[in-house]
Amino acid sequence: MSLDVEKIRKDFPILKIKIDGKPLIYLDSAATSQKPKKVINAISKYYKTYNANIHRGVYQIAEKATFEYEKSKKKVASFINADSIEEIVYTRNTTESINLVARTWAEQNIGKGDRILITEMEHHSNIVPWIDLVKRKGAILDYIKLNQNHDELDGNSVKEQMEKRPKLVAITHASNVLGTIVDVKSMAKTAHENGARILIDGAQSVPHMPVDVREIDADFYAFSGHKMLGPTGIGVLYAKKELLDYMPPMFGGGDMIKTVERFSYTPNDLPWKFEAGTANIEGGIALGVAVDYLKKIGMKNVRDHEKRLTNYALEKLSSVKHVKVYGLPVNRLDERGGVVAFSIDDIHPHDVASIFDTEGVAIRAGHHCAMPLVVEVLKQPALSRMSFYIYNNEEDVDKAIAAIEKVKNTFKINKTEVLA
């Protein structure tokens, strides 16, 4: 079954807006996804009909709020095939999920001279917490290098770094710049064989492909709600129960305790031990609705749709002169997500994105919060990037290609060619 994009598009109110009279072409879902009516309505329904704090009130709307919030955890747990909701900690986003591990598990388990292994294609959210940690602990941060084509991890570097026996491997499941999908199952196996725990940054994978944390054998798996049709301010940390049990809470306060005495307290059961204070209740509930929406479409269908669009975009771009595309080639789509980073000669990506905007086409331009990859490895000050989701179609790609021509005309690139 392929997915019915035209039907899906009708579920997204924002796709009806106009940018300077032109329809919005949204090609920046890797930054944040748009939201379907059902998700938007779930938020207002909570506030209009059962707004109450959870885990406290005994009245009916408080019970309903608690029920719906906890139900969302069941949906998320089943979506990624976690064992139970005890393993699903809500955070603000992927960044907070990774920081939670850095500030709790790593705080206890990483010591002087221990190694943390990450890769050259990580997002800042999976770099900065580890830079801070190794400084605090006198530990060592190592990087798995990219290959010579700069489109995937270098196999020799993986082997060499894993053999240094890191305590933790923290790695992206799919690069937000290159689109490269990492074989995290094999990484987890290698990490475990070398005595390491593995944390996977799933910000660009959970929204776009089937993910099974138990099949991968991930120890920690982090992702964000807002990139998978949910609202901002809600994210997820999955962790194996055996790890969460021994991790100290990150924040202290209400809801994360069972009992409090003047000089001591007993922490709450999982996962509530890690959720101090009033939660993002509407965010959790709406994330559950987003999960329902994605499940109904089917994650395999989502993945197939994005593969088709990426294929279409790569084929089209291959015949556009003065455009360089980054990431794995078109014959390796199985290992590539719906992200296409590109540059147009030496035109600055911000000029590219500004000119795209005059056509209503929203793309991302910049270092994509991955400066070590973009600046140090790819040696670019910035890149332009289009990224796809369930509501994008071939026409969106065509509009982007037309916008590239407009950029080239503005900077007279085509004219230069005629003269040459």
Partner: protein, 124 residues
């Protein structure tokens, strides 16, 4: 965003910038960086009798930052230090002929901010 931002004039300044280069032993200079675009511009000012005798810039960046740096260095020549210190966003929108909007304003004002910072370090 209007295409007017990429009018012929700014694109021409970007492609053939005026005053591009370094003034050795300049009276004042300052290095400016805009993390949004990674624009990296150094402004050099030669000051004689309280006025800018020469202005140059060097660096890399987007069309808006390089284009405005080119226009601004033209504009600074002959101005007094007090006049330069009084310059602000309106100076830039006048040069561009359009308000670049809140985000791209950072690119457009980078060279002016660098010039004003350079003057702060200038003591004579």
């Amino acid at each position: 965003m209007s295409m007017e931002l990429y009018a012929e004039e700014i694109v021409a300044h970007y492609e053939h910038p005026h005053n591009k280069g370094v003034i050795a032993n300049a009276s004042a200079s300052h290095h400016g960086y805009n993390p949004l675009c990674g624009d990296d511009i150094t402004i050099y000012l030669e000051i004689e009798d309280g006025k800018v005798a020469d202005a140059k810039f060097d660096g890399v960046g987007c069309a808006i930052s390089i284009g405005t740096a080119s226009m601004l260095t033209d504009h600074l020549k002959g101005k007094t230090l007090a006049e330069i210190n009084k310059m602000g966003i309106p100076t830039i929108t006048d040069l561009l002929g359009i308000d670049p909007g809140p985000v791209r304003l950072k690119c457009a004002t980078l060279s002016l901010k660098a010039a004003q910072s350079a003057l702060k370090g200038y003591r004579k």
